[in-house]
């Protein structure tokens, strides 16, 4: 496996933003997640929970509600009073429309998907008609006294329930008038609180309305009579969210104490048909408020202030007890936030509104295996580059030579030239960017830093030649006719001849940069690509997919390599296929062409193509080969996958040179330390 000096970087103080809303789409088995900074992410639950797409956030666009309508259309609404529809193909915002009701607190799509309902700050409930490419205001419902915090449609679409402060209203959709007003008890543990906020309502087809409120109650109401049927006091703090399964036999609520509770409809006795709602299991996967929950047919999904997205499968609904039945906790984005300049040993960290450039420390000391070497020169914070405007950074890159930095927001593209003079550094912005370079989804510099490749959100790829202080647009690869799918991943061969680009679903396209034309397309695979890289010398394209499969494709031969075929024939080790974070980066050893270095958030692996593949009987994770055993045994037990789990959570790992690795870790404790303090609970919960 070889020994490396490892730069163990822990100064990337990245904190993901908290999750505000999740919306589950049953048709496509996708999950939309919106964060407090306005970012919206799309997870593909069928593709091993891979984060397929994301829409960058915006400072003024705090999302309060998110919903799917008309099949695949995604809408969000927020405190700036706008309803936004997202373009899931082009990965940009289709349009934003002001609802003229002040900040929007809640939104719900009708069961048929043709209507959209929003609840506003001024107490109005507005109904919108969803028409192709647009939404159209239809009518206002009876205006309420205070803000509408939650909305739910009756599955038949005839009635809605709206949760406000201190009461729940039931509206008739046809007439738009409130037929019931159900007052909620303000008392909380015998202390009269000022207000009782209805954080969530759910309308069941039998007419039951379930409400969750700030007094820690889950209440069942009969909407026909407007009376309280049952009351469950479940928390000492707010219950903030509720989600009901499609079959209406179970629902889930999330509390500000970080607990989610599962309620199930169980029959009272096996002989009678009478059923009752019973609180069954509590799950404590969060440390902070659970702001939102969703109920997929097989899992409970929750997200909150502690930035984790937790997917808890329901064991009784899972048919086969495989690795899908395990708990998933997604914290970090499935894309690269760090780029590295190998030559100057620089790391560029991307935050939502700024970039940080660091120079790695160095050491003169040497030591044994496992030693921590003292730094002779500390890591150096060179640059703090703030963006202009309210938009979040989509992507960024530093050139391998370290003299160029490029980044992009949703509307502007920035390119900077860095000049190093001894210890000081100067930054110069390259002005007069061409009009077509407005927004980029991915930026990549060629190995010799003479070319810049930009994947724009129109599906086109721009190739730009970089000169001292200026640039020249060389070519634009237009997307295949008819598709508007954006390219999200780029890889360039070290010799600069080949460029590979991959979108969210279709195959990987390989372009010949010299001749500026499409060379070939790697056959499409069912699962999205998570990482791409082209090996030096051989120009083999290595592709990692979200189901943990790795393919090696020879670009010159336009076919899969022999090794890749062998791997496919034999199959990967079952434990390898069960890992739950995608491979986010692939790199190669400059001296050993047989090595492929891959990593995901919890492990780093060197694949040695010369060694036999492990079968299901061999041990996949062999921490360290026992030194006392003979070489024969060691050779016999050795297999192609050398896995190290020392560094985690691992956000980035690359080879600086043949003997040096850089690993960027982000310990979860550091993230939690930067979050607001959670609700204080006594040790025994009394």
């Amino acid at each position: 496996m070889g020994e490396f000096n490892v730069h163990r970087v822990r100064f990337f103080n990245y904190v993901p933003s908290g999750i505000r809303c999740v919306a589950y789409n049953n048709q496509s088995n996708r999950l939309a997640v919106s964060r407090t900074d306005g970012t919206v992410e799309i997870y593909n639950l069928s593709a091993n929970y891979f984060q397929e797409k994301f829409f960058p956030g915006h400072e003024s666009r705090a999302t309060e509600a998110l919903c799917w309508a008309k099949g695949q259309r995604l809408f969000s609404a927020g405190l700036n009073g706008e309803i936004i529809e997202y373009d899931l193909q082009a990965l940009n915002i289709k349009y934003a429309m002001d609802a003229f009701g002040g900040p929007i607190w809640s939104m719900a799509a009708s069961p048929s998907g043709s209507q959209l309902l929003i609840g506003c700050e001024d107490g109005s409930v507005k109904l919108f008609q969803i028409i192709p490419d647009k939404i159209q205001f239809e009518r206002n419902f009876d205006r309420q006294k205070s803000r509408i915090l939650s909305l739910s449609w009756h599955p038949s679409g005839t009635h809605i329930a709206a949760g406000s402060i201190d009461y729940i209203s039931v509206f008739d959709v046809k007439s738009g008038s409130a037929i019931h007003k159900m007052l909620v008890d303000r008392q909380y543990m015998n202390v009269s609180k000022r207000k009782c906020i209805i954080w969530g309502v759910a309308f069941l087809s039998d007419g039951t309305v379930i409400s969750v409120d700030s007094a820690g109650k889950v209440q069942f109401w009969d909407s026909a009579t407007g009376t309280l049927v049952k009351n469950h006091l479940i928390a000492n703090a707010d219950v903030q969210s509720i989600a009901v399964s499609d079959q209406e036999d179970s629902f889930v609520v999330g509390t500000a104490e970080g607990t989610i509770f599962h309620f199930q409809l169980v029959s009272v006795t096996s002989s009678s048909s009478e059923k009752q709602w019973v609180r069954t299991k509590p799950f404590q996967h969060h440390t902070h408020d659970v702001r939102t929950v969703a109920h997929s047919p097989t899992a409970l999904i929750s997200g909150g202030t502690d930035t984790h997205l937790v997917i808890r499968p329901l064991m009784e609904k899972v048919e086969v007890k495989n690795y899908d039945a395990a708990l998933r906790k997604i914290t970090f984005p499935h894309r690269r936030l760090i780029s590295c300049s190998k030559k100057r040993q620089l790391l560029l960290f991307q935050f939502s509104h700024h970039l940080d450039l660091w120079r790695l420390g160095s050491t003169v000391a040497t030591g044994k295996h496992g030693d921590t070497l003292p730094l002779s020169k500390d890591a150096d914070h060179l640059l703090h580059l703030k963006t202009k405007g309210p938009e979040n950074i989509i992507c960024s890159c530093i050139s391998p030579c370290g003299s160029w930095i490029a980044y992009s927001t949703a509307s502007r593209f920035f390119l900077y030239r860095l000049n190093y003079e001894h210890d000081s550094i100067s930054l110069q912005r390259v002005s007069k960017m061409p009009a077509f370079l407005r927004s980029a989804l991915q930026i990549l510099f060629s190995e010799d830093s003479t070319k810049l490749f930009v994947a724009s959100n129109q599906g086109s790829l721009h190739v730009i030649r970089l000169l001292e202080g200026s640039f020249k647009h060389l070519h634009t690869f237009q997307p295949q006719s008819g598709t508007v799918e954006s390219m999200c991943l780029l890889a360039v061969s070290p010799d600069g001849n080949w460029l590979a680009a991959s979108g969210t679903s279709a195959g990987v396209h390989v372009y010949n940069v010299k001749r500026l034309k499409l060379h070939c397309t790697v056959p499409a695979y069912n699962f999205p690509v998570t990482a791409l890289a082209i090996a030096p010398n051989t120009n083999n394209l290595v592709i990692a997919h979200s189901d943990q499969q790795i393919f090696e494709y020879s670009i010159p031969d336009k076919q899969y390599t022999e090794w890749s075929r062998t791997v496919q024939k034999q199959g990967f080790h079952h434990l390898w296929l069960q890992r739950d974070t995608p491979i986010t980066h692939i790199s190669f050893h400059p001296k050993r062409p047989m090595y492929i270095l891959v990593h995901d958030a919890y492990m780093f692996c060197i694949i040695d193509k010369s060694l036999p593949l492990p079968n299901d009987k061999t041990l996949l994770y062999n921490p360290l080969p026992p030194t006392n055993e003979s070489d024969v045994i060691r050779r016999r037990t050795a297999h192609a996958f050398k896995i190290s789990k020392i560094y985690k959570p691992l956000l980035f790992m690359d080879l600086l040179d043949e003997r040096t690795l850089v690993a960027v870790e982000r310990p979860l404790d550091d993230i939690i330390a930067q979050l607001p303090p959670p609700i204080k609970k006594k040790k025994f919960g009394t």
Binding site: H232, Q264, S267, V268, S270, S271, T280, K281, P282, G685
Partner: protein
């Protein structure tokens, strides 16, 4: 006749009341609990033992009401029989012989004439739940052979098995799994919790189970203090459970209320928790119950709960979580350091009770009289804590003084020692702390005795300690200007060559004190505290020391560790005799010269009774028990027995009780002591002394009216002699308060009329005479209420026929009923 029977060792009460769940009668008036070989019936209102159901020949292991007749009780025992009792009269109705050792018993209304028992298969640890069909037969003893298997490999404790609502299923837990057997489908479902492999679930073991009476819901208790509520368990896949967690330690028992609206749980915290609606946030507590809750049961009427505790106590709790009655047996929780002491006042047996307490246990009524808190510190129930232990107790001056010693030793060198002297307060009828002496000695106190001479105004206490000293404590005036307070101070410190003092003992007249220093016995004059003489036999350390009594008071007895019993003559200061006997316990009888000694051998313990004057024993009983005898005591009899046989004469004046290492209290008797336990209050049944509650005024009145109507209806048909109770006039006369009644003269005729027999049954001649007499009296007496009496006279005069009399009484009754309609309930408020 008595002498013919041989003397045998019998268990003497004090058996566990908390061995199994207690059972309530259907009307909640009685509570049943197993107690050794018997079943005891207590009244829930008065705490008195009403009946003892005896008949089993081994430990009773389960009791249950007969679901088809709630006036009958089933019990099962290790002797392999199921017995059916009429508990109201305490009569054994039937015995069903099963043949196996029965470990627990269950019944439910939906299994006609069969009961469920846990039996033991050949292998020792495998238990089966089987159903036994009880054949219908008129004979007293019936073989029940029809056994059908239900569940295998169950836990032997009945807490681990419960029957579901309407007997549709039975659920059993053991280790890490829950099995549910559905009777209709004949199918067993099994649910397994993740075992102790992973550290997080290390204590997931099931400990107890209860089934909801109305719904398909099973509650299980676990070792880590969690309670799981299982639902949907008829589906192997879709089953689900809810967790309730309050207990920090193992859940000992669970019970649902009768309606199922609340769940009760208890454990080592000694707190009864009521979970309302089975929700975590809605719970009520009944704390400070004193000891670990072992069992919880609920009365079928739903108005009472009861908890059985590890300190042999049953607490009856009302529905609003208020303890209403405590049934306390002999506490056998801790090690007995104090030995068996007799309280001279109450003749109660005094020994260690709850930690830090002294219990006064009445041998006659087999119940604890009261509990004296000696340590007076909060007892923290935690494993591994070193507690303060009550090590010595002694009574002096006819029970006026009590001396106690408590110690706590955390390390070898850190000994905390405290001696307390308590005086009997006649006003409060209890002991009050008088003097507290911290560190009375430098080392453990080995013996404590009062100089029990006649001079009770000047009591003396002697303590002997391992530090080589014995100290004499006397009662002196305390520093009080009124010279009324008294306290104890040290008067004399004696020692002998730095040997450890191991025993001390006063002679009967109090003139001599014997203190043993390891192998040497020293005799001191109690007036001057001079060393009179020493005895040394070089036969090992002295273990027991006592003076002879009455005619043998010149002898001093000493038993050594090397197995030698020595008897010294104090007049000649020489060894009178010695015998080779490995004596553990030596107790003199206070009422006679006899000394009882229990020796320990490899096979068991033997009892020797002898007089110090002669080395020949009066009575020998070999092998009184298998294990070591720890303590013994002679208890004076209230009424002397008259055994004429020479061998038993030593039992005439007193009875010898002894305590073995497993803490069973045994005695010698020719008959079972329980037979003699005639509860003085057997007649004190609860029903007659019903308190007048508001309900009584509502319901009682209503019922009376109903009864009256019934009686009236009956009256017309009555031909035979009516019982006095059935005559409404009389009962009304007796039940109406005196000061609201009309004058006696007015009532008199009515009263007499009501007593008269109807025409058919009595002679017509007698009748008019009687009435005439009454009338005369009446007219003499009643002046003020002329109108009434006149009316009576009028009607009487018109006709003397039978039907008129009937009419008469009716009209009178009407009048009385008028009175009855007046609400008298305000009277109770007076």
């Amino acid at each position: 006749m008595v002498e013919e029977e041989s003397l045998r060792v019998v268990h003497c009460g004090g058996s566990e009341l908390n061995f199994r769940r207690a059972v309530f009668s259907a009307d909640s008036k009685y509570i049943f609990c197993v107690s050794g070989d018997f079943v005891k019936v207590y009244s829930t209102a008065t705490e008195e033992c009403v009946h003892i159901l005896q008949g089993h020949r081994n430990l009773v292991t389960g009791i249950h009401l007969n679901p088809n007749n709630h006036l009958q009780l089933y019990s099962c025992s290790f002797d392999g029989t199921i017995k059916l009792w009429d508990y109201i009269d305490g009569i054994l109705i039937k015995t069903f012989v099963v043949g196996h050792k029965l470990h627990a018993l269950f019944t439910h209304a939906h299994a006609e004439d069969s009961v469920f028992v846990i039996i033991n298969k050949e292998t020792p640890d495998i238990f089966q739940l089987v159903s036994v069909k009880l054949p219908k037969s008129s004979s007293q003893e019936i073989e029940a052979e029809e056994i059908s298997f239900v569940l295998d490999y169950v836990n032997q404790s009945p807490k681990c098995i419960a029957f579901g609502h309407e007997g549709e299923y039975v659920a059993a837990v053991r280790d890490f799994y829950l099995s549910v057997y559905f009777f209709k489908k004949k199918k067993t479902s099994r649910f397994i919790l993740s075992s102790s492999r992973s550290k997080k679930h290390a204590k997931n073991n099931f400990t107890c189970i209860a089934c909801h009476p109305k719904e398909d819901c099973i509650a299980t208790g676990h070792k880590d203090g969690k309670i799981r509520l299982w639902r949907n368990f008829d589906d192997d896949k879709k089953y689900t459970y809810t967790c309730l967690h309050w207990h920090h330690d193992m859940v000992m028992d669970l019970a649902f209320s009768v309606t199922g609206s609340s769940l009760l749980s208890g454990g080592r915290e000694s707190v009864l928790v009521e979970w309302r609606d089975a929700t975590e946030k809605n719970k009520e507590f009944l704390p400070r119950l004193g000891a670990t809750i072992e069992h919880i049961s609920v009365s079928p009427a739903g108005d009472l709960f009861c908890t059985s505790h590890s300190d042999n106590k049953i607490i009856v709790i009302q529905r609003n979580l208020e303890a209403s009655a405590v049934i306390q047996g002999l506490v056998k929780d801790s090690n007995i350091f104090t030995g068996l002491v007799i309280d001279p006042r109450t003749k109660a047996l005094v020994l260690n009770g709850k930690p830090g307490h002294l219990q006064f246990y009445s041998l006659q009524s087999d119940k604890q009289l009261y509990n004296l808190d000696i340590v007076q510190q909060e007892y923290i129930n935690d494993h591994g804590l070193i507690q303060i232990e009550l090590t010595k107790a002694a009574f002096g001056c006819y029970g006026n003084w009590l001396a106690t010693v408590e110690q706590r030793q955390e390390k070898e060198t850190e000994l905390e020692l405290q001696m307390k002297l308590w005086t009997y307060n006649k006003k409060t009828q209890g002991f009050v702390l008088n003097t507290k002496i911290s560190m009375p000695h430098e080392d453990h106190i080995t013996a404590l005795c009062f100089g029990n001479a006649e001079k009770s105004e000047n009591p003396t206490l002697v303590t002997a300690s391992k530090d080589g000293h014995f100290k004499v404590w006397i009662l002196t005036d305390d520093s009080d200007i009124y010279k009324q307070a008294v306290g104890w101070t040290c008067d004399f410190v004696g020692s002998y060559h730095k040997y450890q003092a191991t025993n001390c003992c006063f002679s009967e007249d109090g003139s001599l004190l014997a203190v043993s220093f390891e192998e040497i016995v020293t005799i001191w004059d109690s007036e001057t505290w001079e060393l009179k003489c020493t005895f040394c036999q070089r036969a090992g350390k002295i273990r027991n020391l006592c003076f002879g009594r009455l005619t043998c008071s010149k002898y001093l007895l000493g038993a050594t560790e090397n197995g030698i019993l020595c008897c010294w003559n104090l007049l000649s200061c020489a060894l009178e005799w010695s015998a080779k006997l490995n004596i553990r316990v030596m107790e003199p009888d206070p009422n006679s010269e006899n000394v009882a000694a229990v020796s320990q051998s490899s096979v068991g313990s033997d009892l020797f009774v002898f007089k110090p004057s002669e080395p020949r024993p009066l009575y020998i009983q070999k092998n009184i028990c298998r294990e070591e005898v720890q303590w013994g005591v002679f208890v004076p009899r209230d009424v002397p027995e008259s055994f004429t046989s020479e061998a038993y004469q030593w039992l005439n004046r007193s009875q010898f009780y002894f305590l073995t290492k497993s803490q069973s209290l045994l005695t010698f008797s020719t008959k079972s002591p329980e037979e003699k336990l005639t509860p003085t209050s057997k007649q004190l049944l609860a029903e007659e002394s019903l308190p007048t509650t508001p309900f009584y005024f509502i319901l009682g009145k209503h019922r009376q009216q109903q009864d009256e109507k019934l009686n009236k209806a009956l009256e017309d048909e009555l031909i035979q002699l009516p019982l006095t109770e059935n005559i409404p006039a009389i009962s009304e006369l007796l039940h109406t308060p005196a000061h609201v009644l009309p004058s006696a003269s007015y009532l008199c005729s009515m009263f007499v009329n009501s007593l008269l027999l109807s025409k058919e049954t009595k002679s017509a001649e007698e009748l008019p005479d009687d009435i005439d007499m009454e009338e005369e009296k009446e007219s003499e007496d009643s002046d003020e209420e002329n109108d009434f009496t006149e009316k009576v006279q009028d009607t009487d005069n018109t006709d003397l026929g039978e039907d008129i009399i009937h009419q008469l009484s009716k009209s009178e009754e009407k009048e009385l009923r008028k009175f009855r309609k007046v609400d008298y309930s305000w009277i109770t408020a007076l």
